[in-house]
Symmetry: C2
Subunit: 192 residues, 2 copies
């Protein structure tokens, strides 16, 4: 019996985006369809087969160490973004504010799907989830541009709702409207 | 707070190996030190940045689909191999029988460490664990060569003890005797 099993959780891609140059702006621009490669989304500044390590993994690597890139994509859930918006007191949450790559709807407790889960479209394009993402303060000024005064509420409101980081396991198209099925490792919990 | 956290579980590499040609033999040959690259262990037939998908992921991919290779290395635990040997009624378990790449000792419940955990040596070389491996019947004839009549007991004895599959996140040396520290995703369980 294989370890990786298909679940009954079938969602849908409702938004796609790309950050062209994170030095210039953290905001991602909306797209309708992309051809995902092993390096991620073409033209996305977080793409690449490898990346220089950042503050998030400073426990593991001195900053700037070349490592494999498991943060090619930031995948978030439309239900969780709606909950963030509500808690922040804004009408709706623009995924571009946090530089999101993919927004899915229909997968419950999305931020906490098991590490090493896969998201597979009907056309076979597949993303491997590294693990939960954690919110930071960086989107605050981006949010303030569109919703003045609300940026500072983001980090707390996004706790447990910041989605996951992911990378491309099988290349292919990703498009708004694509069905996406969750596959999860079926192993029992670690009992050290 | 980062999602990936260092644990107090520090083990040691006690064996290293490589399968030069799996068509010729499933057995891995012992090595003392290797230079792990993003493609895995040089000269290992299971290496490569990508691989043609196999029966284990046929739920996800038609056989032979090009996908990223998360099975570059087979990592097992010396304590679990000893338990397999005891259940099989053999004196000791040769990691070469199952084509193992790395044997670690000192990490409890090794087969079930969380998916997306990292194993990092003191010199910084880092492996990302995809998930639990599952035993199959293929090693039976290899075992029978050295321990006649015992091969058929392997699959059942190795249940929950077959170790994990892994790939190289940071390149560098791996050597017998290296300390290896376990880092795990710190997120709560999924609650769909």
């Amino acid at each position: 019996m294989p370890s990786l099993v298909k679940t009954e959780h079938v969602g849908r891609i409702v938004w796609l985006g790309r950050v062209p140059d994170r030095e210039a702006a953290l905001r991602s621009e909306a797209l309708k369809e992309v051809q995902a490669t092993y390096a991620g989304i073409p033209g996305e500044d977080h793409g690449g087969l490898t990346r220089p390590s950042c503050a998030r993994v400073v426990t593991q690597y001195p900053k700037g160490t070349e490592i494999r890139n498991v943060r090619q994509l930031s995948v978030v859930s439309s239900e969780e973004l709606a909950a963030i918006a509500e808690e922040m007191g804004v009408e709706s949450f623009d995924p571009g504010w946090i530089g999101a790559s993919v927004v899915v709807e229909g997968i419950p407790d999305f931020t906490h799907v098991p590490p090493s889960s896969r998201l597979q479209t009907g056309r076979g394009t597949t993303l491997t989830i590294d693990m939960e993402n954690r919110p930071c303060h960086l989107p605050a000024p981006v949010i303030d541009e569109d919703a003045p005064g609300h940026g500072k509420a983001f980090k707390a409101a996004a706790k447990d709702r910041r989605g996951v980081t992911a990378w491309v396991e099988r290349e292919g198209p990703l498009a708004v409207g694509d069905e996406i099925t969750l596959h999860v490792p079926s192993q029992r919990a670690w009992a050290p």
